[in-house]
């Protein structure tokens, strides 16, 4: 499979069909594994890294789940292509910085990606739309078991799976969900949620993980610890917390509709106006405004069938996607113009916000029901 195929196919997890997909954009689980008695990638010399890569790669490519996969050495990908994969969350930012001795293998549906020689010898990641952490882990567990029959993983009876960073030792598992929380942000309740979540050993991060800013009202929530708790316990604890946050988000949206409908209507109208008429837009502004449009769709102010084109804009307006689509390297100013142009064109299909639908919804007090007209 070629890179052009990767570009033309939006990942299946992006399509928004999983449970709670209005609020949970995606669920991801990753497992870190290493070979026994071999230097971790950060410490191994180039020759050893290459030897490890050659040892692991055929076994990954042989997996039945990796039929017709995209498999590439990092040194053979351009900086722009790597950035596209980062924007799709198919590789980490750390992995994008790697070159000789590292590789990425992913399936056609872009729901499974395996990085070789990232921080650990193997970083395996499974992605799903909506809240499906359990299902994402199930697939990964199966793949891990298949690989463990071929490769001897570093494992200790007491400490579990041994990883380059002690923060991953034990299960080597990080489970995370990407949540869209405009209601909690607009109601200024988000800091309370972030603090509460941090107190119970979970981490909240921005769009691209550690140390990144929260844009587009998107937040990643994940487990912080990996030792002393079983995989399924971690996942069910995380799932419960996410379900609570989903409830809080729905509640805050209802409160906004009932008590601050003018503010809400103003936000949606402004977002629609700027996106429809602007001629220059940064990716941060685009994400923040698209987030409000997405909220508008959730609240019936825009028709449900426009959800997919809007969701796709979240990805297509990211810097590397923009440049890859236009097939040229653009400076920031050119990108901002092109971004605004693409958004204007795409939003032509979106009718003006219909406030009567929002007003109707505020009456029933529960989560938005589909329009009966």
């Amino acid at each position: 499979m070629k890179f052009s195929n990767v570009m033309s196919n939006a990942g299946e997890w992006l399509r928004g069909e999983g449970p709670h997909h209005q609020i949970v954009i995606s669920s991801r689980v990753r497992l870190a594994r290493n070979l026994r008695d071999r230097a971790f990638p950060g410490w191994a010399k180039k020759a050893e890294r290459t030897a490890i890569l050659e040892l692991i790669k055929p076994h990954v490519e042989k997996l039945p789940e990796m039929q017709d996969s995209f498999s590439e050495l990092l040194q053979d990908l351009s900086a722009l292509e790597k950035q596209v994969l980062v924007e799709r969350h198919l590789i980490s930012r750390e992995h994008a910085a790697k070159s000789a001795g590292s590789a990425v293998i992913m399936n056609r549906r872009q729901t499974l990606s395996i990085m070789i020689n990232e921080e650990d010898h193997l970083r395996m990641q499974s992605m799903r739309s909506g809240l499906q952490l359990k299902q994402a882990f199930k697939l990964l567990d199966k793949i891990d078991t298949a690989l463990e029959n071929e490769l001897e993983f570093a494992y200790d009876q007491r400490l579990g799976y041994l990883t380059a960073c002690p923060t991953n030792v034990g299960t080597g598992m990080r489970a995370s969900a990407m949540l869209h929380l405009p209601g909690l942000v607009l109601s200024e309740l988000i800091n309370q949620v972030v603090q509460a979540v941090s107190k119970i050993g979970l981490a909240v991060r921005g769009l691209y993980g550690e140390g990144t800013e929260a844009m587009g009202n998107l937040f990643q929530i994940s487990n912080q610890t990996t030792l002393g708790e079983k995989e399924d316990e971690i996942i069910s604890r995380l799932t419960k917390v996410i379900e609570t946050i989903i409830e809080k988000e729905h509640d805050s949206r209802q409160v906004l509709i009932q008590k601050k409908s003018n503010t809400l209507w103003d936000q949606i109208g402004r977002a629609y106006g700027v996106l429809t008429y602007a001629h220059a837009m940064s990716s941060k502004e685009a994400l923040n405004l698209l987030s409000i449009i997405k909220l508008g769709i959730d609240l019936n102010v825009f028709p449900e069938e426009k959800r997919l084109p809007i969701d796709e804009l979240f990805m297509d307006t990211q810097p590397a996607h923009l440049q890859k689509t236009s097939q040229q390297k653009l400076n920031a100013e050119e990108r901002d113009h092109l971004r605004a142009q693409i958004i204007r064109a795409r939003l032509k299909v979106l009718p003006k916000p219909d406030i009567s639908k929002l007003a109707m919804d505020s009456g029933n007090g529960s989560s938005p029901a589909p329009s009966e007209q």
């Binding site: 007491r158 002690p166 708790e229």
Partner: protein
């Protein structure tokens, strides 16, 4: 295992006692992590990959899986502070599971053997010895 003893001057020269050198470990693992690391023998070197504690202090990452055994003293406190528990309770690879089972059986057989010898029950002891030999060959296969 290779152990290097450094005098005060040498260890300073190698940055072992440089408190600022631990800043990254602190940042990564929480304040106080560096002190925990420092408690361990500072001159140890991993027999498999040659990694040392100053390397850990620099990178916040270990060199190879054997480093966990090499630097166990320093890491134990660190892991305790970092995680929910100190022992893995999750997935066990089938290979390790088999080895774990065999070593449990081995321990039981050895205990029975000692008991048989103490009771001068030489016939049972001989049979146990055969079983242990058999198990040993399974473990090394």
């Amino acid at each position: 295992m290779q152990k290097v003893n450094l005098c005060d001057a040498c260890s300073k020269e190698k940055g072992v006692q440089d408190p600022t050198g631990f800043a990254l470990a602190d940042l990564l693992l929480g304040i106080g992590a560096a002190e925990e690391i420092e408690k361990g023998s500072s001159a140890q070197r991993c027999p498999v990959c040659g990694f040392t504690q100053p390397d850990f202090k620099k990178t916040g990452r270990l060199g190879c899986s054997t480093c966990y055994a090499t630097f166990t003293e320093a890491l134990t406190a660190l892991l305790k502070a970092m995680h929910k528990g100190t022992a893995h309770v999750g997935k066990v690879p089938q290979r390790a599971h088999r080895v774990g089972e065999l070593s449990d059986r081995m321990r039981n057989l050895n205990e029975s053997l000692q008991k048989a010898v103490a009771e001068e029950n030489y016939e049972t002891a001989a049979s146990l010895r055969d079983q242990i030999k058999q198990l040993e060959s399974e473990l090394t296969s």
